[in-house]
């Protein structure tokens, strides 16, 4: 009997890890108009906000090159998909394939895409990739457009 319960405990740990891990993999938050300011307010250090799209091949190349760096520089990168939450499945798959699923991930609310873009940068038309660097004082000091 003791062995049965011991096995059950082990199984539970495995299941807990698997389920919670897979849940984390799809933990992409919906980015609404107010989230831009909210996210900046929550940062205590310099960071980069990277906007990308599943339809943008240069974005994928850039994210692939950042993937390793982002693991060494925890909390330095925030990835925001401009695709809209109607494409959540594609966004999630792409993040998984790039091993970025555990990073801070957001996806634009489909209903508010234009409003969000306007709020972030009036000269931005949604072209991707687009990255902004923020300093320790939360100032957006430059736009990185390779």
């Amino acid at each position: 009997m003791k062995y049965i319960f011991s096995d059950l405990l082990k199984l539970s740990f495995v299941l807990f890890w698997t389920i919670s891990h897979s849940a984390q993999a799809s933990d992409i938050k919906i980015f609404n108009v107010t989230d831009y300011k909210n996210i900046i307010g929550q940062q205590n250090n310099e960071f980069i906000m990277l906007f990308w799209s599943v339809e943008c091949s240069p974005c994928i190349n850039e994210m692939r090159s950042i993937s390793t760096l982002s693991k060494k520089q925890r909390n330095k990168f925030i990835f925001i998909s401009t695709d809209g939450d109607e494409f959540m499945h594609e966004v999630s798959n792409t993040l998984n394939s790039l091993d970025l699923e555990k990073e801070k991930n957001w996806v634009f609310s489909s209903a508010a895409t234009e409003e969000i873009i306007n709020t972030i940068d009036s000269s931005w038309y949604g072209e991707t990739p687009r990255s902004y660097y923020f300093d320790r004082e939360k100032n957006r000091t430059r736009m990185i457009n390779r």
């Binding site: 405990l9 299941l15 698997t18 389920i19 938050k29 091949s57 939450d85 234009e114 457009n145």
Partner: protein, 408 residues
Amino acid sequence: MSHSFKIFTIAASLLLAATSFAAQHKTKSSTKLVPGCEKAQFKQHCAKTMTSTFDKTGRLWSVWTNGQYLYVNHSNDKGLTFSKPARVNNTAEKISSRNEHRPKIKVSQNGNIYISWTMKLDKRFTGHIRFSKSTDNGKTFSLPITVNDNLEIISHRFDSLGVNESGDIFISWLDKRDKSQAIKAGKKYNGAAAYYAVSTDSGNSFSKNKKIADNSCECCRMSMAFDQKQLPVIAWRHIYNDNIRDHSIARFKDSTTPLKPIRLSHDNWKINGCPHHGPSINIDENNTYHTVWFNNATIKHGIFYANSNNQGESFSKPIQIGNYEHKASHADVISSGKTVYIIWQEYLKSHHQLYMMKSENSGIDWGSPKLISLSKEKTDHPFLVTDHNSVYASWHIPGKKYNLIPLK
């Protein structure tokens, strides 16, 4: 409490916690669909894109997708009501249908209906160019064929479709076969290439694929019009030098000989990325080329219009269209006699706005922009269509009744 029971309790709690955790996060990640179309119902107005064209009798034809199927139907009352849709592909396939990607539809002078689209493959950014036709007035469609003769699992996407007065069908697209070769040879290749194929037998077969140009931008729509000789003139976003993404046009000597491309725009937008914003071209009865495009360079940005009276050898000084601060974007151009129409979208105060502008003298002088429609909901890109009596703006708003607006 016995030791065994304690272990059981811990195990059960862990399982419960994991399940609850998963459920919580699943809710956060739920996918939203078009309002009123949550169950992905089979409804034309639920489609993400709708592309329309008139046949020579004035009947409006539309192509749209539902899941992995393409549908075509028609309207005899300018889009107020539509016929029962006919399915194009009887075997399910992934169809690119979103913003700059969309199935295309053209009707030849003899009433044949031609459809082209991009079939998405499993690997990211890959696809094949597909084609089907109906010769029985849209009742049935032929078994789809793949037009690209390179069948690598690479990008053959962003198709553009045209049929001339003789019934020749041209399809152009963006193709990465040259990039694929370059990578295999350890060389660099920026962007994609513009390719095309032609059918001179009403779409039963297509010619060997031919390259129009190397180094096109890889994620913007192409546009096609026919000149007085009924040869295509194709416009696309090109990559010049170090990621300058301006526009090109290509004319043809004959249906199998594309000429050296000509640079259309000189805005010098440098971006190693995806503008998702292709040009539009139309040719009027005097062989004047009318073009619109978008760029977002530091100095020259917004929508621009230019025309050419010498078959693209030179273009007029571009004029800016719409309000850049209001996100003027996704313009289309069409001509009817000497009258030229441009439509585009803007975004202001939480509304998507559709504007038009008209020239009565082949694009020399222009009237003021007019607001012709607006929507609080997200919209498909606007396009211009003509039944040869009037010009209409086709503006699909997913979840809403189809919007075909006559332009005056």
